[in-house]
Structures are given as C-alpha cells and as structure tokens.
C-alpha cells in the first residue's frame, strides 16, 4: 500500500495503516512524510513500512514486530518502549531514542542525540539492540538495565559520546568504538577491554548493520572498542538505608 502523506494529520494516516494491517496488508510505502507522529506505534504484525520524508516523534512507540525503514533523518523519541521489530534509519536521529526499549533492533546510520537508550531493559531472549554509526550526546545509556548499545563514531567527529555515559547503569552492555574520557563516564560504570565472546557478539550484529548501510565490516571491527558494564546490579540499594 502506498500512501501520499502530504499535508495529512497523523491520526487518519495511522488509522489507515492499522486498518490495512488488520485487513492483511503486509507492505507500506509512505511518501511525503513531514512530521507525522507515532508511525508504526503499537503495531503487532510483521509488516514492512518504508518512509520517505522526515517522520515525527515517537515513531515505533510500543511497536511489536514491524520493520520500518526511514530514508531520511528521524526525530525524537523513536523506539519508545519498543518490544520487537526493526527500525533502520538512513540518517541521524534526535533525542530520547529507545527509551525503555525492551526488544527489537534500532539501527542508525548517522548520529544519535541526547539520552539514547535510557532505561533499556532485557528479559531472557528479549534483548534490545541499538547501533549508531556516528556520535551521541550526553546521558547515553542512563539507568540502563539491559540490552546492547553500540556506538561507532565512524564520521570522525569528536567527542564520540557526551558526558554522563551510563550514569545509574545496572544492566546490559555498551560498546564504544574508541576511547571514552574517564570524566565522561557515570560513577556506576566499569570500563573493560573486549574479549573473544564480545567480538563474536558485536560481530554478528555489526554484520547485519553494515549490510543495511554499506559499511565495511572489517573496517568497523578493526576499531578499538571500549566495553562498558555496570559495576553493580543495584547501585542505589543502600541509598535510603542510612
């Protein structure tokens, strides 16, 4: 199904998509998108949505299955509390992406904004993954409770990540392709080198990632990665005790 979204409000457009999904439609191409919010929000089926234009905030919120390909930059709040599916952004994204994300993949070719993956979480096989090819702002992985985040810094901009990385982190793992200044790290984070298992793990996701965007996997893997893990699974356990 092809929708010309020029001048269309998000409500009728998203209803059109939901109704078509209920009727069995599997593939959507949305043209002339300009700021419409909540695209793919709450959808449970494994449909494919291609977006031409700049989609609005909270794209893929509570999404549970679809694959969304965005041929532009995306804005704030995408993959909010997303449960399953894939979002592939051929550009950069705004702030607060992957907030409370609990499954699925979010692959970004360019930069990510502030507050990426705040309070991401995982449960058994439900492991959310965010990969960004460029840089990210402050509060990367703040209060992270689970999942995997990989930041590649491929565009050479500096610093690769802002301050307060992993502040309050108590689960999950962050891989950053490059050095992170100690003063940029949250107090709850431990900085490690990659072991073979790590390389295998990120290799499998990065292979997929590189295929989407045409990056050279060997070159991506050749970087010096920093691994960040939480020092404790309950950093504030004693905060209100004494």
């Amino acid at each position: 199904m092809r929708i010309d979204a020029k001048g269309m409000h998000y409500r009728p457009m998203n209803k059109m998509i939901r109704d078509a999904v209920a009727a069995g439609e599997k593939e959507f191409e949305l043209d002339n998108i300009g700021g419409q919010r909540y695209i793919g929000g709450g959808l449970n089926d494994s449909v494919k949505i291609t977006i031409n234009g700049t989609p609005g905030n909270d794209l893929g919120a509570f999404m549970n299955g679809p694959r969304i390909v965005i041929n532009a930059n995306a804005q704030d709040g995408i993959a909010n509390t997303m449960n399953a599916g894939e979002i592939i952004v051929h550009g950069s994204v705004g702030d607060i992406i992957g907030y409370g994300m609990r499954g699925g993949k979010l692959y970004i070719k360019g930069d990510a904004g502030y507050r990426v993956g705040i309070h991401m979480k995982e449960y058994k096989k439900q492991v959310p993954v965010i990969i960004a090819g460029g840089t990210a702002g402050d509060f990367f992985g703040e209060y992270m409770a689970g999942g995997i985040m990989i930041l590649l810094g491929m565009n050479g901009k500096s610093p690769i990540v802002g301050d307060y990385v992993g502040t309050g982190m108590h689960g999950g793992v962050i891989y950053i392709r490059g050095k992170v200044n100690p003063y940029s790290l949250g107090k709850e984070v431990n900085c490690l080198e990659l072991n073979e298992e790590d390389k295998k793990l990120i290799g499998s996701y990065l292979k997929e990632y590189c295929e989407h965007f045409g990056f050279d996997l060997v070159e991506v893997m050749s970087g010096n990665f920093t691994k960040l893990v939480p020092l404790s699974h309950r950093p504030y356990g004693n905060l209100y005790v004494y």
Binding site: G34, Q75, G94, G113, Y183
Partner: protein, 374 residues
C-alpha cells in the same frame, strides 16, 4: 496583579482544558536570510503549523524584522489594549513622552479560532531630543515601555523596536498568523511560537514572542530561576509584569548585550554557563573567562529546561539549556539559517538543505546579518 482576567475572557474555560493530559510541548521556529532578503509571512506560518500538535491553542505569535523599511528610524510600538479607556490613557502618555508620527489600527482578519482579541494599535514614535539630555535614547524608550506595562491598566506593549514587530495572541499560531495578515509583511528574520502553557496563564500579553526594543524571544520550556533573574533585573529598572518566565530572557539580553556591552557569545555563556566540573578542565585563559562570568553574572544564569530563539535587528540566536532538556534542530541552505523544535518543520519550508544538525546543549547557533546589509 494588574493583568488578572485581562484580555482573556475565556480564562476559566481554557484552564479546564489545560488540566487534560495532552502529550505536548511548545513549538518554536525561526528563519533568517543572512543576505537580508525579505520573505513574506506565509512561509513561517507553514513551518510552525507543521508542529500544530505541540501547542494547544492557548498562544501563538511571531516576530518579524525588516517590516517597516520606510519608517525604520522610528520606534514601532505594537500595543494591546483591553478597552478604549486604556488606549486613551496610553495615548495621553505617548503625547507627553514621544513624538507620535503616525498611528493606526494593526490590520487584522477575523478568522475561526481567534476570539475576543484586544484592541490592537500601532504607533511610529520618536523620542524627543529634550528628553534625552541625561539618558540614552534606548534607555529612555525601555523605561517608557516598563512604565506603560506596569502603570496603565489594561495596556501592554507587544513590541517596541525599530523596523520590527511582534504579532501574538491566544490561538493556534497558524490562526494567529492569518489573523494578523502576515502575508502582507516581508521580513529578513521571522521567529514563531506555538504555545502549550503549563505554569502560567494563556492570555494575549502572555503569548510569545516576548520583546523589548529590538529583542524578541520565543521559548519552549520553563525558567526555574525566574525569581532570581527577576530580582536581578529589577535592580536595573526592569519591571516584570507579564507573568511569564520567558520575559526575563528578553530583558537579560537587553541588559547584558545592549547595556553591559557583552559580546553575544559571552552573554550566552552567562545564561547557559558551563558547569564547574567542565570549567575545571578548561585551558587557563578560558577558565578565567568562564569563572569571571559565573561570578559576575550568577544571577543571570537560566536554570530549567529551555530551547529559545532570540531575534534582534542584526541576527538570530538559538540556544538550549545546559543538558538539552528541550529539542532544537538547526539547518542551512544558501544564505538561509533555520532553527526549529523539529526537523520536519524546517523541511516543510526547505526540503533540500545544505546542512542539518542538532546543536549541543548550552551551545548557541548564531546567525548574523551580512555587514553590508542595511
């Protein structure tokens, strides 16, 4: 409070609406031609309308620079009056304090969505020379703006700069833009605001932009340091009467840049100053400057979440709070500089851009009119 119930007869009805939980935030958008090319108001309306869902109909407004080229040496006062008595009282004062060269109603077009506008009038004024013996012209005009805002019941100055004007009110910004017939104005800088009032009332004088002389500010967020900033400004003769936090930003720029003559980047540093932990790591020279600014201008530090676009006669400045709690995207295309809460609002009016970026927290985006442009 001088403005209780003023210019907003629907205050009880609208306040009920405010308490509904609507996921939203204000919208801001700005555009400027660094070559000084003038663009009519339909373009900025289109941009701000793209973010309709960020506001709730309780405030919209625009600032435009370069709109009165034939009277560019006179102060253009855009006035809002609650009633004819307020207009007469203000005009009595104007006769005494200014030379009034011309006055006329601000042209409007009644549209759906705009109800009960105040009386809207504009004046082209000159400051009489005999009044300027012991005071600079702009200090004099600033004082008169403060006097009218605080002393004349039911009268507010919406804008008071040269060759610029603010057009604002209660409604969605796209409706306000049509109401003021912005298609009839051409400007080299436009800023726009769609309001979603949270802590302060939605009334005509409280809509953005907030202005003083050439300064105008549109703002998404809230200034938690309002009390400190207000007391600081009051020491310098500013009177804060508009019951909205954003007012302090316009006056702080007037104080820091016009009166204290700080360069724009240092003024910005005082409003969104670096954290002490970052100052500790600076090179000695930078460290000295940042420390001095924090020490001298501690009371002008803006706390709380904000993204703002400041307009002035020579340029446009975008700024975020120090940890980027509100969104801002900037973009360039040829001589055009754009800033908005959302990238889609820029793409709506400029689909092909040379450059798009998200400014970092506390880092200003500064657009400056080319020097040769008058």
């Amino acid at each position: 409070m001088k403005c209780d119930g003023l210019m907003n007869p629907e205050v009880s009805k609208t306040s009920e609406r405010v308490h509904q939980r609507i996921p939203s935030g204000c919208a801001i958008s700005g555009m400027m031609s660094e070559e000084g090319r003038r663009i009519d108001g339909r373009v900025i309306i289109k941009s701000i309308a793209c973010m309709h869902d960020r506001s709730n109909g309780l405030g919209g407004g625009f600032a435009a620079y370069g709109i009165y080229p034939k009277r560019k040496h006179q102060y253009a006062f855009h006035m809002m009056y609650d009633n004819v008595e307020a207009k007469e009282a203000t005009e009595e004062i104007f006769k005494d304090i200014f030379n009034v060269d011309m006055d006329e109603p601000i042209p409007t077009h009644r549209e759906n969505g705009i109800s009960n506008p105040p009386l809207l009038w504009r004046y082209f004024l000159e400051a009489p020379e005999n009044k300027l013996e012991f005071i600079s012209e702009r200090d004099y005009v600033m004082k008169m703006v403060m006097r009218i805002n605080s002393e004349v019941e039911g009268a507010f100055v919406a804008s008071s700069g040269k060759n610029m004007g603010a057009f604002k009110g209660v409604g969605y910004p796209e409706d306000i833009g049509k109401f003021y017939k912005l298609e009839d104005y051409s400007a080299y800088i436009w800023t726009a605001h769609g309001r979603f009032p949270t802590n302060t009332p939605g009334w005509w004088g409280g809509a953005h932009p907030f202005t003083l002389l050439d300064w105008s500010v549109v703002h998404n967020g809230e200034i938690s340091s309002y009390g400190i900033n207000k007391r600081y400004l009051e020491m310098y003769g500013y009177r804060l009467e508009l019951r909205t936090d954003t007012e302090v930003i316009a006056y702080l720029f007037d104080l820091l840049v016009r009166r204290h003559k700080l360069p724009i980047d240092k003024a910005v540093m005082s409003l969104a100053s670096p954290f002490w932990k970052d100052i500790d790591r600076m090179e000695p020279e930078q460290k000295k400057i940042a420390t001095a600014i924090r020490q001298v201008y501690g009371s002008s530090l803006l706390n709380g979440p904000f993204s703002i676009i400041l307009g002035h006669s020579r340029g446009m400045i975008g700024l975020n709070d120090r940890i980027k709690l509100r969104p801002m995207t900037a973009a360039r295309k040829d001589d055009m500089l754009y800033m908005a809460s959302e990238e889609s609002a820029i793409r709506e009016i400029a689909p092909d851009l040379d450059e798009v970026w998200s400014p970092r927290a506390g880092t200003a985006v500064i657009g400056t009119l080319k020097e040769e442009v008058e």
